[in-house]
Structure formats: structure tokens, C-alpha cells
């Protein structure tokens, strides 16, 4: 009894993948375009990692209405606050996110500086670094204001002050103050404790990311994905043939965009972990493509003269089982994370799952048929300028 086991996918399938390529490409184009358009016009829900801001995970001991939490945060002046339930309802855990409101624009700074200059002997130009976004340095000569006077003057100009920090003067006889407006979490925490005292709010996690860091992380994340794609394409090109590269690139970009689609359409937070998922999908989904390309190459040597489309179809069908099973096994390992994961980890596994599926799909319907299209195109290009060569080729 040689085969007491079974094949999930029969080993002699003859599905016409190549024949479906036009439908598949159209579908994929629509899906990709939809994701891109959505991401551009609707935007991604950037987490604090990328958007900057403050995020707090607060657990209450009893039921609290998220709307009332939002109201109390909004009352503090954070109009863009978002409050969402985190994890199962029974845990009474909420995620409070406050975006950029606490950070000053250049107009705010100008207004503040004018207000302070009107009252106190400011020396030089107050120093403001847009990349920090929450701090103005004032330098005074003569009689400097007290920190409280300075705070009052700044708040009079409509900017919330967290701290006026007394710093050593630049030179003898001068005083410096740093006016800092960040640190909303303390304020929110205290406010929640007083408003919802009975529900015993507990801040379990706080993430604050400054705007400069957020921008930097966003750029770096984008670059990291591009670098990874580039390196993978080079590797596959070196190991196989650069003729395969366009197919690999298109499959990679396709899978990255579809994975991004999870974050775009679900509105789930896009953060550092999301970049990690996309990178992993990029690295992993190319595996299936490599398996199929490997087989195409092997079969090209074996069946010389066979029509390329048949060859590709044959190759995909031959390795259909393993392409499916490898993806299935990896997807299987994620099930536990999907069930028990909360927040970021749930998103990680869900997006990874979608990436794996997309990777398998793109191997079958995009990457492999792509080779035919490219070969045919190359053929036409060769043929078109020198038609006299065509008969010779055909005869071979």
C-alpha cells in the first residue's frame, strides 16, 4: 500500500490558469486601483507611530460608555480625539487617541511670540523647532517674567502649556524658559480618574510619538519595503533569470498593495507592525512564485518546443498541491493568533493571512502568466523590425 495518504488537490489537475489571466489581471487591477485610490483619497488610519500623537490604553473596572470618554477628552480641548473599544467588550478596555492638536503651528508660535514680546523683555528671536513642534525657547534680559507669568501670557495667546521649564540663560544676566505644550496623557489620565473614579481607570499603555519621529518612521517604513522588494528581485534575478524579474516585481507589488488593502478598507490602525506584515508578506509570497518559476525552468529544458502557455499551465498544475499546502500550513499557524490576538496582533495575523492568500493567487494568476505575456512581447519586438526572420524561426 503505497498511497495510504490522500491529496487535498488531486495531483493530475489540469486547470487552465493561463486562459483565465485576462479576467484575473482585470480583477487584480481593479482591486489594486481600489486600494490605492482609497488610500490616497480616504487615507489610511495611521497609528501614532506614523501620525504622531498620543495613544492610551485604558482599562476600567466596569462598563463605561465610550462616547462619554470621548466627551471628557474633547472637553479638555482635544477635538480630534478618538475612542474605541479594545478587545472584547467584557474587558472594558478602550483605546484613546489624540492627534496633533497639542502641537503648535507656525502661526500659533508667531502669535505666542508676539504676545510674550509685548509684555516682557525678550532677547533675540525665540527659538522654535518645527520638528519638535511643542517647545518654544524664550530668552529674557533685564527683569524676566516668572514661569507663571510666562505661562499666563502664552495661554492668553491660545496655546496650552504643559510646563514652563526654567533653563540656564545663554549668557550671564539672562534667563531662558522653555515653554512645552506636550504631555497630554497626564492631563487625560487625571481627568479620567476624577470623572470615572468609580470605574477605576487604569492606564495600561501609553504611546507618544512626536511629529518628526512619526514622519521619519513613515519615510523609513516606505523605504524599507522598497529596499526589501529591490533586494528580493535582484536575488531572484541572479538565481533564475532576469526575464522572470518583471513577473516577480508585479507579484510583489500586487501582494503588498492587497495587504495594504486590509488596513485601508477595514480602517484598522496602520503602524510599525503593519509595515512588518507587508515586509513579511513581500518576503514570503515570493516563495510560491519561486517554486512555480523553478518548475517552469525545469520543464522548459524537458519539453523543448512546447507552447509556452501550455508549459506554464502544466508547471502550475504540477506544483499546485505544494503551492496550496505551504500557504495552508503557514496560514494554519496564524489561527491561534487570530483567535487570541487583540489589537495589533489581530491585525498582524489577519493582514498576514490576506497576504498569504494574495501571494498564492498572484503566483497562479499573475506572476506565471506574466512570463507568457513578456515572452510574447519580446518575441513581437524582435519580429516586427525584421520580418524576414520570422519564417526561419517558425521553421525551427
Amino acid at each position: 500500500m503505497q498511497f495510504k495518504t490522500f491529496d487535498i488537490i488531486p495531483h493530475d489537475t489540469k486547470f487552465d490558469f493561463v486562459g483565465k489571466r485576462y479576467i484575473a489581471v482585470t480583477l487584480s487591477l481593479i482591486a489594486n486601483a481600489a486600494v490605492i485610490l482609497w488610500a490616497v483619497f480616504h487615507g489610511l488610519n495611521f497609528g501614532v507611530d506614523f501620525a504622531g500623537g498620543t495613544e492610551m490604553e485604558v482599562k476600567f473596572q466596569q462598563v463605561v460608555d465610550p462616547a462619554s470618554i470621548r466627551k471628557s477628552v474633547e472637553d479638555l480641548g482635544f477635538k480630534d480625539a478618538s475612542v474605541q473599544t479594545y478587545g472584547p467588550e467584557s474587558e472594558h478596555t478602550y483605546l484613546i487617541r489624540v492627534g496633533r492638536i497639542a502641537l503648535m503651528s507656525q502661526e500659533d508660535v508667531n502669535r505666542v511670540v508676539q504676545a510674550v514680546e509685548a509684555k516682557f523683555p525678550v532677547q533675540g528671536t525665540p527659538h522654535f523647532n518645527l520638528d519638535v513642534g511643542d517647545k518654544i525657547d524664550f530668552q529674557f534680559k533685564g527683569t524676566p517674567p516668572t514661569p507663571d507669568q510666562l505661562r499666563a501670557a502664552v495661554e492668553g495667546a491660545g496655546v496650552r502649556v504643559r510646563e514652563v521649564r526654567d533653563e540656564a540663560g545663554l549668557t550671564a544676566g539672562t534667563r531662558s524658559f522653555a515653554v512645552i505644550t506636550q504631555g497630554i496623557q497626564d492631563k487625560i489620565e487625571r481627568d479620567l480618574a476624577s470623572r470615572f473614579g468609580a470605574a477605576k481607570p487604569e492606564v495600561r499603555r501609553v504611546e507618544y510619538v512626536g511629529p518628526a519621529v512619526g514622519r521619519e518612521l513613515r519615510n523609513q517604513g516606505f523605504k524599507a519595503i522598497l529596499y526589501a522588494m529591490g533586494l528580493i528581485v535582484v536575488y531572484v534575478g541572479l538565481r533564475f533569470d532576469f526575464r522572470f524579474s518583471p513577473g516577480v516585481i508585479i507579484a510583489l507589488v500586487h501582494d503588498a498593495i492587497i495587504t495594504l488593502g486590509y488596513f485601508a478598507f477595514s480602517g484598522r490602525e496602520f503602524n510599525l507592525t503593519s509595515v512588518a506584515v507587508i515586509l513579511t508578506v513581500v518576503g514570503y509570497s515570493v516563495n510560491d512564485t519561486v517554486v512555480v518559476y523553478d518548475r517552469i525552468r525545469e520543464n522548459q529544458a524537458r519539453f523543448k518546443g512546447k507552447k509556452l502557455s501550455d508549459l506554464v499551465n502544466h508547471s502550475i498544475n504540477e506544483v499546485l498541491g505544494r503551492t496550496f499546502l505551504t500557504s495552508f500550513a503557514t496560514a494554519l499557524s496564524l489561527v491561534g493568533l487570530l483567535v487570541y490576538g487583540v489589537g495589533t496582533i489581530f491585525d498582524f495575523s489577519a493582514a498576514m493571512m490576506i497576504g498569504i492568500i494574495s501571494g498564492t493567487y498572484s503566483t497562479w494568476f499573475i506572476a506565471a502568466p506574466m512570463t507568457i505575456w513578456l515572452e510574447e512581447r519580446a518575441e513581437r519586438k524582435k519580429v516586427a523590425p525584421r520580418p524576414e526572420q520570422a519564417p526561419a524561426r517558425a521553421a525551427r
Binding site: 538565481r239 507592525t273 487570541y340
Partner: protein, 608 residues
């Protein structure tokens, strides 16, 4: 069996034993309750035959709680300060040379020094003679003015030094707290990343690390009687057997101390004391500030009551001349040392000034001989020793005597740290802060391990159901893979984060991918009519490069991610990378050794 096979089996057994051996410290580490893991308890629990107790699996901040901070050093402001200080020095220098100078001040943008003078040529040449290695005189200044600017290289050096100093200061402070296994490193050009696992007080960490350690020297104003007038407005401090007794009244209270004046006479100076900083601030605001004369200010210092181990701290005032005589960046080094000049060794603080600083210090000390010089760090008077002689580049601070030796030595260390910290002239700002409470970690660990376990069970069950015996072999390899990954992580001291657990699970799934590829190929070869031995050989040989390719592409992504991410995401990338490398070994070498064994006698049966 072939000899080659025995070599492979020996290798596999070796790897297995090695992995288990390397995980011994981690086993003892996680057996202890979380609060004892980083203490002596753990060190003692690790048996002596085990690897170094330091090499254990670590939990990331997200799992054990703690604080992650990225602090940016504001180097621009540091440069501004340097320019402004140099402008003052130049004015001083020219005055000494008896050259008429109207003004020497930084330009509005803070990059240049503008010296207004009737004789620009002479000023330019004389200043460049003195400071020519650091300054240049850019052209384009209006008539009657000379511009000086720091050379580009000087500025760069200075900025780099400012960040170095900030990092050093932060290290010093963190060391002082005794946080176990803190991680402090540079990130980018002017960022410092700090991880404090298990640290529970983010406010304290932010305040202490975010605080600018700017050190100034100011002269105390012990002659002025202005503070004597507060005696009518706050109560006197409670006294017991001649020493102050806590608790102090909430309104603050007054007390006196005997000081020496330059002429040698004694004076009783009044100061205000309170139990907390905010009480003292309130008292100063209310009773002391209105009485100050121009050029005076109040400094706040700390004092202690009682000589025993348990000392009560209180806060007290010093009356200071507001003028900052000297700043900390003129100090090049400071350390606690031993003064043996009076027989028995006595702890002292020795410090070295930069050449410029030495010149300024000499002037300062000779003008204020016999007065007290307050060392003010972040507006807090750390110590106020008497100036007993002229100091130039090398100085020494003698501590008040009649205290236990150990206590004095600690104090000397403390002051040395303050002086060193004072060399940090650039303010730092918090760029990024991530705090995880202690209660979150255990819950995440529970959920994470449950999720990992479910994933593992599903994968293992699938392999056995689908491939039977061959699947079981792959599963055994998978277990070894898991052990190997954890062992490598323990050896390189990488941390296990929540995304890291996800990465671990994912690599388990990817590890069996290789076996799926191999097994499917073997099935195919069997269908093509080969016997079992041939099919196994062909199966492994033909997919070898496919497996390598598949692993390398994912590894590329993991390595790129490692460069990019920090914290939990980096933990994911590291786990993924280690998992991929381990999986190549287990899925190819380990399973093959098993397969070769089971198919040794060219059987016709193979459940694959």
C-alpha cells in the same frame, strides 16, 4: 548505514543538547516570579554547571512593562548658547586688552557674534590671534562692526560632543537609579533611545531624563540681610536638641546657619525650609521674592536631618547673586578622590576646567575669595563650598567634615556626577515615549503563548494527518527548531516581544513549508515510478535550492526590517530571521537523517 549518516546524527544530537543546555538559565529565569527575576535570587538559582546567568531569554518592554523613550538633543540651542557665551568672553577679553568696544553680542539668528567697535581692523586681528583656531571673521559686516563665527568643523564637533554628553548624562542618571538591564543607545544623529524595563514611574523618568542638566556657578549673597525679614512672616523651624526636627510646617519655616564672610567675621544667615519642593516654592513666592533686590535670586537646595541611616530630606533656600558666573560646559572632568594632605585620607571632589574655563574661574575665585560658590544644577543648589583659594584649571571641593567616611565618599561621588552632568549644555526633548504598565504584560504573555500553542498544535496535527509518519518526522524536527530558535535568542540576548511571539509562530508555519515541498516532491517521484530510496534522495536533492531560495527571500525581508524597526517590531524581525535559519537546518538536515534511517533497507513502503 553510511558513515556520513552517523556524522549527521551526531551533529543533530549535539545541536539538541546544546540548545537544551543554553536554555537552562532561561528555565530558572522564568520559574521565578517576575519581581525577583532580575535580582540576586535569580543569580543564585542558576546552577554552576549552566551557562552564564546573564544569557537568558529576555522579555521585551511590551511583555514585562517598562518605559521606552527617544530623546532628541537640541543641538541648535547648544550652539546658540556657545555663541552667546563666546560673545561675552570676547567682550571681556577686549576690555582686558583696553580696546574700546561698544557691544559684543550674538546676532539675532544666533549664529554670529557681532562686535561693535571704533576700530574693527584691530579687533578682528586681536580676536583672531586669540581664538583663530575656532573662529573666523566672515565678511559683509556693516561699518563699525566685526562679525565672528565658529568654523563649521568646530560647530560639528561641538554638536557631536553635546549629544555624547547628553548620552553620558542619561547613562549616569539611569545607572544611579539601579534599573536592571537598561538599554541606552544612539539613534540617528541626535537621538538617544532609552529602554527601562520594569521601570514603573514614567513621570519620574521623563522629568529626570528630560530635564536639562545645565550647571551654573553662582556666588551666594551671604552679606545681604533681605531674608532676615521673613522671620516675621513664617514660623521658625522646630528644633530639638539643637538640630532641626521634621516634619516642618506646611507654610515653610525659617532657620539660621552660621557662615563666614570674606573678612573672617561670622554671620547668621536666615534661610527658609520646607518638607516638599512645592511647599518651599509657594513660601518663596509669597514671602521671599517680594523682598529681593535687583541682581539677587533664590536658589533651592536640599538638606538632611539626622545622622543615622534614615535621614529626612528637606528643601531650603540659598540667597544668590543672580549672575551666572560660569557654566558647566567649562568643566572638562570631575571625580571623587582622596585628599591625603592632612594625614588621614579625606574624600574630596577634584575637577578640571577647560583652558578658557580656567581663566574665567581664576578671575571669579580671586574676586570672591572667602565667599561661597553655589553649584547650581537645574536651578537646584547642589553644594555651596567656600572659595578658599584661587582656582584656575584644577580645583578641589572639600566636603564638610564630621560625617562618616562612607557618607562623605558618596557625597563626593554625587557632586562629581553633578559637575560632569553639568557639562551637558543642550536641552533634550522627548521625541517618543512608550510606556507599558506592569499589569498588561502577564496578560499578553498568557494570550500570546496560548495563541502560539494553538498554532503549533494545528500545524503538528495537519502534518501528521496529511503525511502520517513523514509528517511526524517533520513535527519532531519542528520541536527541535523551536528549541534552537529560543536557544539562539538566549545566546545573543535578544528579547521576546509580543510581535516576536507572532514571528515565532509564523516561522513554525514556514518551517513545515520546507517539509511540504520535500514530501510533495517525494510523492511526485514515487508516482513517476521510482523506488522509495530513489524518491527520497531525489526529493531532497531537487527541492534543496527551492527551499534555500524560499528562505533567503523571506530572510531578506526580515533583515531589512531589523535595520528599520526598533523595540517590539525589531523583536519580530530578529525572531523571524533566527527562525528561518534554524528552519533551514531542521527541515533539510534533521528530517533527512530520519528519512534515511527509515528507508535504509530500500523498502517499498513509505507513508508520505
Amino acid at each position: 548505514m553510511e558513515r556520513n549518516w552517523y556524522v549527521r546524527v551526531a551533529l543533530i544530537t549535539g545541536v539538541l543538547l546544546f540548545s537544551v543546555y543554553q536554555l537552562v538559565p532561561s528555565w530558572f529565569y522564568f520559574k521565578l516570579p517576575p519581581d525577583q527575576r532580575n535580582g540576586q535570587q535569580y543569580d543564585q538559582s542558576v546552577p554552576s554547571w549552566a551557562p552564564s546567568a546573564r544569557k537568558h531569554l529576555n522579555l521585551g518592554l511590551d511583555l514585562q512593562g517598562g518605559i521606552h523613550l527617544a530623546m532628541g538633543v537640541d543641538v541648535d540651542r547648544a550652539v546658540k548658547a556657545k555663541v552667546a557665551r563666546r560673545a561675552d568672553e570676547i567682550a571681556d577679553f577686549l576690555r582686558e586688552k583696553k580696546i574700546a568696544v561698544e557691544a559684543s553680542a550674538p546676532s539675532p539668528d544666533g549664529t554670529r557674534i557681532a562686535v561693535k567697535t571704533s576700530d574693527p581692523r584691530r579687533v578682528e586681528s586681536i580676536v583672531l590671534d586669540q581664538y583663530g583656531n575656532e573662529l573666523s571673521a566672515p565678511s559683509g559686516a556693516p561699518a563699525g562692526t566685526v562679525w565672528f563665527a565658529f568654523k563649521g568643523k568646530v560647530i560639528q564637533d561641538f554638536q557631536a560632543k553635546a549629544v555624547d554628553q547628553a548620552e553620558k548624562t542619561i547613562r549616569n542618571r539611569v545607572d544611579k537609579w539601579g534599573v536592571s538591564e537598561p538599554d541606552i543607545k544612539r539613534k540617528g544623529n541626535n537621538q538617544i533611545q532609552i529602554q527601562l524595563p520594569g521601570f514603573k514611574d514614567p513621570e519620574k523618568a521623563k522629568e529626570l531624563l528630560g530635564r536639562t542638566a545645565q550647571l551654573e556657578f553662582k556666588i551666594t549673597d551671604d552679606e545681604s540681610p533681605v531674608l532676615d525679614a521673613v522671620r516675621g512672616e513664617v514660623p521658625s523651624c522646630p528644633v530639638e536638641q539643637g538640630v532641626m526636627r521634621t516634619p516642618l510646617p506646611e507654610s515653610g519655616c525659617w532657620s539660621i546657619e552660621g557662615v563666614e564672610l570674606p573678612g573672617g567675621q561670622q554671620r547668621q544667615v536666615t534661610f527658609i525650609a520646607a518638607s516638599t519642593r512645592s511647599q518651599l516654592d509657594a513660601a518663596i513666592e509669597k514671602v521671599a521674592k517680594p523682598k529681593l533686590q535687583p541682581g539677587q535670586e533664590i536658589g533651592i537646595g536640599e538638606g538632611t536631618v539626622g545622622a543615622g541611616i534614615v535621614k529626612e530630606r528637606f528643601y531650603r533656600t540659598y540667597l544668590l547673586h543672580a549672575k551666572t558666573e560660569l557654566t558647566g560646559d567649562y568643566i572638562s572632568d570631575a571625580r571623587a578622590s582622596m585628599d591625603n594632605s592632612q594625614g588621614a585620607g579625606k574624600p574630596v571632589v577634584v575637577f578640571t576646567m577647560t583652558p578658557e574655563g580656567g581663566r574665567l574661574m581664576e578671575k571669579l575665585t580671586s574676586n570672591n575669595l572667602g565667599r561661597r560658590m553655589a553649584t547650581v544644577l537645574d536651578q537646584k543648589v547642589e553644594t555651596a563650598p567656600y572659595i578658599q583659594g584661587k582656582i584656575s584649571t584644577n580645583g578641589q571641593i572639600t566636603l564638610g567634615s564630621n560625617r562618616p567616611y562612607q557618607q562623605m565618599f558618596e557625597e563626593a561621588n554625587e557632586i562629581a556626577l553633578v559637575l560632569k552632568a553639568g557639562a551637558l549644555p543642550a536641552p533634550v526633548t522627548i521625541y517618543e515615549e512608550r510606556t507599558v504598565g506592569a499589569t498588561l504584560g502577564p496578560e499578553l504573555i498568557r494570550k500570546g503563548t496560548t495563541a502560539a500553542f494553538i498554532g503549533l498544535i494545528l500545524v503538528v496535527a495537519f502534518m501528521i494527518l496529511y503525511y502520517r509518519a513523514t509528517g511526524l518526522i517533520a513535527d519532531l524536527a519542528l520541536v527541535l527548531n523551536g528549541l534552537l530558535v529560543l536557544a539562539i535568542m538566549a545566546i545573543i540576548g535578544s528579547t521576546l516581544t509580543l510581535p516576536g511571539i507572532a514571528g515565532f509562530v509564523l516561522t513554525l508555519g514556514m518551517a513545515v513549508d520546507a517539509n511540504v515541498l520535500i514530501n510533495e516532491r517525494i510523492r511526485e517521484e514515487l508516482r513517476a515510478g521510482r523506488n522509495v530510496r530513489q524518491a527520497v534522495d531525489q526529493g531532497y536533492d531537487k527541492v534543496f535550492w527551492t527551499i534555500v531560495d524560499a528562505h533567503v527571500t523571506t530572510l531578506v525581508a526580515a533583515v531589512v526590517l531589523m535595520q528599520y524597526g526598533s523595540g517590539p517590531v525589531r523583536g519580530f524581525a530578529v525572531t523571524l530571521a533566527i527562525g528561518l535559519v534554524a528552519s533551514m537546518f531542521t527541515s533539510i538536515v534533521v528530517t533527512r537523517a530520519f528519512m534515511d534511517y527509515f528507508t535504509r533497507g530500500d523498502t517499498t513502503r513509505l507513508s508520505v
